[in-house]
Symmetry: C2
Subunit: 221 residues, 2 copies
């Protein structure tokens, strides 16, 4: 008899995504970051555009915390909110300084199409009021980053903005955040009907597609 393996909902979505997942988790940008060979202009574009998500991402995560089912489900989300508005925010501030990107530069650089799309995905998920749809977006954002964060080998002597960006997306703490978000999504999935599951799947795939576009856009001149 064949062994029946229980595949979690989040794992199922990742498997369904197929190569779309690897296109993010194995993107050129992530390898160049770890090797320290990422061009200054590419890194600058990435940092300016990625920092733009912070506000929408905080809204997304805070909305998830408010919509979660119990205090225990909220606590890790609250701790992660503090990290992304603390350590991760100072990372951006120091990176802008190192790359000599002024506040004026940031303000006058228009959002890229990919940035605007991904930000819309975040804000639309919040507006849906659906905990599972919010979680779908969060899971893709964090789990794809963990996938490349754990995969790459950082060369010694790379600039801090390469080293620290990898360090923020790997290791036991970040792993616990990804497990937490996936666990919440898997638990919610058990109570969803076919239509609701389809909506969650659509959010998952749309977020994944735009994550790739976002990395690609950093190489556009």
């Amino acid at each position: 008899m064949a062994e029946v393996t229980q595949v979690s909902f989040s794992e199922q979505l990742r498997q369904e995504a197929g190569t779309a997942w690897d296109e993010v988790a194995r993107h050129r940008f992530t390898d160049e970051l770890a090797a320290g060979t990422v061009e200054r202009a590419v890194m600058a574009k990435y940092a300016v555009q990625d920092h733009r998500f912070l506000d929408a991402f905080v809204v997304l995560l805070a909305s998830m915390v408010a919509a979660a089912r119990s205090l225990d489900d909220r606590i890790p989300g609250c701790q992660f909110l503090a990290l992304i508005t603390g350590r991760e925010n100072t990372y951006f501030v120091r990176t802008f300084e190192a790359l000599r990107i002024s506040e004026e530069d940031r303000r006058t650089t228009p959002p890229t199409e990919a940035q605007a799309k991904l930000e819309s995905i975040m804000r639309d998920a919040v507006a849906s009021g659906s905990l599972s749809e919010i979680l779908a977006v969060l899971v893709v954002c964090e789990w794809t980053y963990q996938s490349w964060g754990e995969r790459v080998q950082v060369e010694t002597g790379v600039p801090f903005y390469c080293q620290e960006w990898v360090d923020l997306h790997r290791g036991p703490y970040f792993g616990s955040v990804v497990d937490y978000l996936r666990g919440l999504l898997d638990r919610e999935a058990a109570g969803l009907n076919t239509d609701e599951k389809a909506k969650v799947r659509a959010r998952f795939m749309a977020t994944l597609a735009v994550e790739k576009e976002f990395f690609d856009s950093c190489y556009e001149k």
Copy 2:
């Protein structure tokens, strides 16, 4: 000529509250806590019932973070969320141990009327979707606690659950939290019409009244 003093909206509400404010900020419970003379049964009742708010309070604060107007406005809220689900939550856990209150005891103790009322106020403010009404509740909860926290003199050698509960509600960090919440409320008030201001005022006064009832209820046999 008389000097025109600009009184902030939050200060105006506190002044309007009059003695109702002092009934919370100068409540017997707060003095007994600082003196270490609070009876075990009173402290136990307080701790069990107060810990019940943590979940609703996290929802209230996370909803405020999500509804705030900018990333800068969200950041201190995120850091405070981490504190109340971290340091403040472990305070309760250690207090329950010291007072030999089991999880079973906590589960089987029904909420007091005052606890249920205050929790409803928090959840109703969230349901209103109004940032200023959410802030009104948060401001009363934190500012009244700061008022007594800064006022009382803690006797040496009091139990840790007295000392630490005072320490969590005074000092520069807690002061910055109160200033932050009041600042957000004052800023929102500038854009409110008379009807909206009346709603905010009603939330403020209702919260204050129940804070007193809550302290009183800890002395009921």
